[in-house]
C-alpha cells in the first residue's frame, strides 16, 4: 500500500473553554478528492487550519507522505506542499494578481525579477489548468470567481501538492461551481490531493472519492462516497434523522402588500440595483435566489431603511413608502409594520456586547411599552425578553447573558423572536439560517411558514438554493442588480435557476 498523502493522528484543539477538535484521526490517499462535511461549528475549519499551520494543535501528529511532519506555522505547511484556499479570500485588494501570487514566495530582495518570472509562470499554469486570469489586473476589479482562481494559482505557484478548499462554492454560480469542479478533477489527474470542506451534500456526492463527517469537534465517520447517500450523510452530521424537505401547505395569496417599482440603488459609485420591480401578496413567500453580491443585500437594506435608494417607488398596502428621502430609516419602517431579519446578525441584527434583553428592544427601543416617560423601562424589557426566550426556545433562557455568548442558532432565534413576534405585515428575511445548526434551521423555517399562514407577506433572500426552493411560493432570480425572471418552485429546477443566476436568459441561450 502506498503512503497516504495526509494522515492526522489524535488531533485535539481547544479555544479557551471550547473544545473545537477532539482526538481526530483521518487519512487521505494520494491523488483523491476527500470531502469533509459537518454542521457549522463542527470543527471542520479548525481542523484544516491546523493542517495549514494557522493554528497549533494542543495534541496530535500530522504525517505527510508517510513522514511525521510537524506544522507549527503556515511556512512549514507551504514547505510540506500544502496549500489552502480560504472561504474568505486572503488577497490584497489593491494589489495586482501577480503581486498577490508572489507575496511571501518572492525569489529575491528585489521585486522586478520575481514579477517577471511569476508573470511567465502564471501564463503557463493558467493554460495548463484552464485558469485564465490577467496577471496585471487589480484584485478589486475581478469577479469573485476570478479571485478564487487567483487563490488557486497562488497555491500552484507555491508547488502545492495538497490543496484544501474551504466552502469554495458559497460565492459561485452553479455554472462557476461546475467549472471549479472541472479544474479540481484536472488537478486530481495531475496527482494532486484535494480536501474539500463544504456543507453542501450535493457537491460531496458529485465530486469526492471519500468523505468524512464531523460533529461537535469529533470525526464520526469516514466512508466511500459511492457507498453513501445525502440522507445518510445528513443523519451522520446531526446525529438523528433529518427531514431535508420543508413541510408546508400550498399558499393562498391575497391582496398585494408590497409593490416595488424600478428601484435603483447606487453605492460607492456602482449601480447595485438597476431598476428592480416586484410584488408580494398576503400569505405568500417570495424567495430571491442569486449568487451573493448581485444586489440582494441592497434590496433588503433599502426596504429595511438602512440605505437610501436613488430612484424608483415602493408602496406598502398601496401607500407610498419613502425610500429616497431622509425619512427612510429603520424606525419609520418598523412603524409601518415591516420586520427585518438582517443578513448578518453579528454586525447588524444584534449588538454582541448587549445583553439579550437589551437586544430584544433593539430597533423597537422607542416603543412606548419599553419606556416610561423619559427613561427606559428596563424591567418591562427584561420580562418581555424572558417571555420571548421561552416561546422561541432560546437556550440558555437567560436575559442577562450578552448576545455574543449564545450559539449562532440561539442568536438567530433572538433576532427572529424580536422581528416576528409583532406579526409584521411584511417580513424581510436575509440568510435566515446562515451559520445556524440544523435543529434551529428547522425551527426558523417553521416560524416563517407559520407567519405566512397568518396572512403576512414575506421576502426571503438566501444564497442557499435548497432553502429558496423549499420555502418559497414564488422565486425571483437576481443577477447584476436585476430580476432575471420569476418561476414557481413546482415548475422549475436547479439547472434553470442556475442559468438565471449566471445571467443567462432562456431567450439568449
Amino acid at each position: 500500500m502506498t503512503a497516504h498523502a495526509i494522515e492526522l493522528k489524535g488531533i485535539s484543539k481547544a479555544f479557551g473553554p471550547v473544545q473545537a477538535n477532539r482526538n481526530i484521526s483521518m487519512s487521505v490517499a494520494k491523488g483523491t478528492i476527500h470531502g469533509i462535511v459537518g454542521e457549522n461549528g463542527a470543527g471542520k475549519s479548525t481542523l484544516m487550519s491546523i493542517l495549514y499551520g494557522f493554528y497549533k494543535a494542543d495534541r496530535g501528529e500530522i504525517w505527510i507522505d508517510g513522514k511525521l511532519t510537524p506544522i507549527p506555522d503556515s511556512q512549514a505547511a507551504i514547505r510540506a506542499g500544502i496549500g489552502m484556499v480560504h472561504q474568505h479570500f486572503k488577497l490584497v485588494e489593491n494589489f495586482t494578481v501577480v503581486e498577490n501570487v508572489i507575496l511571501g514566495a518572492e525569489d529575491g530582495a528585489l521585486l522586478r525579477p520575481s514579477i517577471a518570472k511569476a508573470r511567465r509562470l502564471l501564463t503557463e499554469l493558467s493554460e495548463e489548468y484552464g485558469l485564465k486570469v490577467d496577471p496585471d489586473a487589480m484584485i478589486e476589479d475581478l469577479s469573485v470567481g476570478h479571485q478564487q482562481r487567483v487563490e488557486i494559482l497562488k497555491q500552484l505557484y507555491r508547488h502545492a501538492d495538497i490543496l484544501i478548499l474551504d466552502e469554495p462554492t458559497g460565492v459561485l454560480t452553479p455554472a462557476e461551481a461546475d467549472q471549479l469542479f472541472r479544474i479540481l478533477e484536472r488537478l486530481k489527474e495531475e496527482g494532486k490531493t484535494i480536501i474539500l470542506i463544504t456543507h453542501k451534500l450535493r457537491e460531496i456526492m458529485e465530486i469526492t472519492d471519500t468523505v468524512s463527517v464531523m460533529r461537535r469537534g469529533e470525526m464520526t465517520n469516514t466512508v466511500k462516497t459511492a457507498d453513501t447517500s445525502p440522507a445518510e450523510l445528513a443523519e451522520m452530521m446531526v446525529g438523528r434523522k433529518v427531514l431535508l424537505e420543508v413541510d408546508k401547505a400550498p399558499a393562498t395569496p391575497g391582496d398585494v402588500v408590497l409593490k416595488v417599482d424600478k428601484l435603483r440603488v447606487v453605492r460607492g459609485g456602482v449601480e447595485r440595483l438597476k431598476g428592480v420591480s416586484l410584488e408580494i401578496r398576503r400569505g405568500e413567500i417570495l424567495g430571491i435566489a442569486g449568487v451573493a453580491g448581485n444586489g440582494q443585500t441592497e434590496l433588503l437594506q433599502v426596504l429595511g431603511g438602512m440605505i437610501p435608494a436613488q430612484g424608483g417607488t415602493v408602496t406598502l398596502h398601496n401607500e407610498p413608502l419613502d425610500v429616497t428621502g431622509k425619512h427612510s430609516n429603520g424606525q419609520t419602517r418598523r412603524a409601518r409594520g415591516i420586520g427585518h431579519v438582517p443578513e448578518d446578525r453579528q454586525t447588524e441584527g444584534l449588538i454582541m456586547a448587549y445583553e439579550a434583553w437589551e437586544n430584544v428592544a433593539f430597533g423597537y427601543h422607542q416603543d412606548p411599552k419599553y419606556n416610561t416617560g423619559l427613561l427606559m423601562n428596563n424591567a418591562a424589557i427584561k420580562d418581555d425578553c424572558a417571555d420571548k426566550m421561552a416561546r422561541y426556545d432560546v437556550r440558555p433562557p437567560n436575559p442577562r447573558l450578552p448576545a455574543r455568548n449564545f450559539s449562532g442558532g440561539n442568536q438567530q432565534k433572538i433576532v427572529v423572536a424580536r422581528e416576528m413576534d409583532r406579526a409584521p405585515d411584511l417580513l424581510l428575511v436575509g440568510q435566515p439560517t446562515r451559520g445556524v445548526d440544523i435543529g434551529a434551521i428547522e425551527f426558523i423555517h417553521k416560524q416563517i411558514i407559520a407567519l405566512r399562514d397568518q396572512g403576512k407577506a414575506i421576502l426571503l433572500v438566501s444564497v442557499e438554493l435548497d432553502e429558496i426552493m423549499g420555502l418559497s411560493d414564488r422565486i425571483a432570480v437576481m443577477f447584476d442588480g436585476r430580476i432575471m425572471g420569476e418561476r414557481l418552485p413546482s415548475e422549475t429546477n436547479e439547472n434553470e435557476l442556475g442559468l438565471l443566476m449566471a445571467g443567462v436568459t432562456q431567450g439568449a441561450a
Binding site: G16, A361, N371, P402
Partner: protein, 371 residues
C-alpha cells in the same frame, strides 16, 4: 461563556493597571535617585493630610470629573475626544463673556448663565470636529487635536487684544463682580476646617450633579441606549434606524459641553477672572480619568479623586523634593493611560487564563465525586 466574572473585568483589571502604573512611576522616581516611599508619603500627606490639602485635591478633582465625563460620554459612542483642552478653554471664554457682559444681581442666576454659556461654547468647539467626522469622515482624533491648538491661539489673541485690562501687562480679563463670586468651601463647609483661601467651591456639587446626569443619560435613556449601540456597532445602529450623524453630533455636543463646564470651577469659582492657559492640561487628564474609570461616572469620580490628589500632592512634592519636577504628575498620567488604555490586554490575558484555570479546576472538582 464569559472568560471571567464581571467584577474582575470592571474592578480588578483597572485596579491592577493603576497599581502597575504607580509601581513604574515609583521606579522612575527611584531611577532619578530619590526615594519613592518618601515621595509617596509627601504626596499622600499633601493631598489628604489637612483641610488645606483636601481643598486643593477636591478642587482639582472637580476639574477632572468634568473633563473625565466629557471623554467618557464620547467613548460610549466610540469617539475619542482629545479636544477637552480646547473645549474647556472655550468654556472659559463663555463664562467670561456672560459674567463681564451682564450685571448679575446674585451668583445663583449668574451660575445658571455660566453653565449655559460654558456648555454652549464648549459644545460649539466640539461640534465642528463632530460635524466633520459625521459628514466628511475626517478623523475626530486629529481634528480635535488641531482644535486644541487653534483654541490656544485664539485665547492668546483674545486675552491680549480684547480682554486685557487697559494699562495691564498680563494677559487676563478684569475681575468679575463681587456678586457673581461662587461660595467656596469655607462658607458652606467651614466646619470641616476649610479656610477662606481654599479653591474648593460650589462647582464641586455641579460636578457631582453632572455625574448623575451622565449616568441617567447613558444607562437609562433611549438616547444613551442609542449612543452605546452606535459605539458597539455602527452597522447595527443603522439597521435599528439610529442616525449616525445625529448620534455623533449629540454625543460630541454633550461631551464638549461637559468639558466647557470645567471652566466654571476655575474661571468663575477660583480665579474669578479669565486667565491665560487656565485649563492647565485638565482636558488631557480627562482621558486618563475616563480610561481608568471605565467610562462610568462612579469610576470617573474615583479616578478624578486620584488625579486630584496627584496634582495637589505633586505640588507639595516639588516643594519638599526640588529634584523631582512637577511634570512627574504628567508621567504618572501617561502611565495610567498606557496601562489602563493601551496595555489593557497585558493584564487581561493572564487574568482570563487564571479565571479559566480556576473554573476548570472547580468543574473537575465537582465531577470527581460523581465518578
Amino acid at each position: 461563556m464569559d472568560k471571567m466574572p464581571k467584577w474582575a473585568d470592571v474592578v480588578l483589571i483597572p485596579l491592577i493597571s493603576v497599581v502597575l502604573a504607580l509601581v513604574v512611576s515609583g521606579l522612575v522616581v527611584a531611577i532619578i535617585g530619590e526615594s519613592p516611599w518618601r515621595a509617596m508619603e509627601i504626596m499622600v500627606r499633601g493631598a489628604f493630610g489637612s483641610a488645606y490639602g483636601w481643598g486643593y485635591t477636591l478642587y482639582y478633582a472637580t476639574n477632572f470629573i468634568f473633563t473625565g465625563l466629557a471623554v467618557a460620554v464620547a467613548f460610549h459612542a466610540r469617539l475619542f475626544n482629545i479636544g477637552g483642552e480646547g473645549q474647556a478653554a472655550l468654556g472659559g471664554l463663555g463664562v467670561a463673556i456672560i459674567l463681564l457682559g451682564v450685571a448679575w444681581p446674585h451668583w445663583t442666576i449668574a451660575l445658571l448663565a455660566a453653565v449655559l454659556f460654558s456648555a454652549a461654547f464648549g459644545a460649539v468647539w466640539a461640534a465642528v470636529p463632530a460635524y466633520l467626522q459625521a459628514k466628511r469622515g475626517s478623523h475626530i482624533v486629529i481634528t480635535t487635536i488641531m482644535f486644541n491648538y487653534i483654541a490656544s491661539a485664539l485665547m492668546v489673541y483674545l486675552l491680549v487684544n480684547v480682554f486685557r485690562v487697559e494699562g495691564s501687562m498680563s494677559p487676563e480679563s478684569a475681575t468679575f463682580a463681587e456678586a457673581v463670586h461662587l461660595p467656596n468651601a469655607a462658607s458652606f463647609a467651614g466646619f470641616l476646617g476649610f479656610r477662606g483661601s481654599t479653591p474648593l467651591n460650589f462647582s464641586f456639587f455641579l460636578a457631582l450633579l453632572a455625574c448623575v446626569f451622565v449616568w441617567l443619560l447613558i444607562w437609562r435613556t433611549r438616547l444613551g441606549y442609542e449612543i452605546r449601540a452606535f459605539g458597539h456597532s455602527d452597522s447595527a445602529a443603522v439597521y435599528a434606524g439610529i442616525n449616525p450623524t445625529k448620534i455623533i453630533m449629540i454625543t460630541m455636543i454633550i461631551s464638549g459641553a461637559l468639558a466647557g463646564m470645567m471652566a466654571i470651577n476655575v474661571v468663575m469659582g477660583e480665579a474669578e477672572r479669565l486667565v491665560l492657559d487656565f485649563v492647565e492640561g485638565a482636558g488631557f487628564v480627562g482621558i486618563a480619568v475616563a480610561l481608568m474609570g471605565r467610562s462610568h461616572p462612579v469610576g470617573v469620580i474615583l479616578a478624578a479623586l486620584l488625579f486630584g490628589a496627584l496634582y495637589q500632592g505633586g505640588a507639595e512634592l516639588q516643594f519638599e523634593m526640588p529634584a523631582i519636577s512637577r511634570e512627574m504628575v504628567v508621567v504618572i498620567q501617561a502611565l495610567v493611560i498606557l496601562f489602563t488604555g493601551a496595555l489593557d490586554n497585558m493584564v487581561r490575558m493572564p487574568m482570563q487564563a487564571f479565571f479559566l484555570s480556576l473554573r476548570r479546576r472547580r468543574e473537575a472538582g465537582a465531577r470527581t465525586p460523581a465518578e
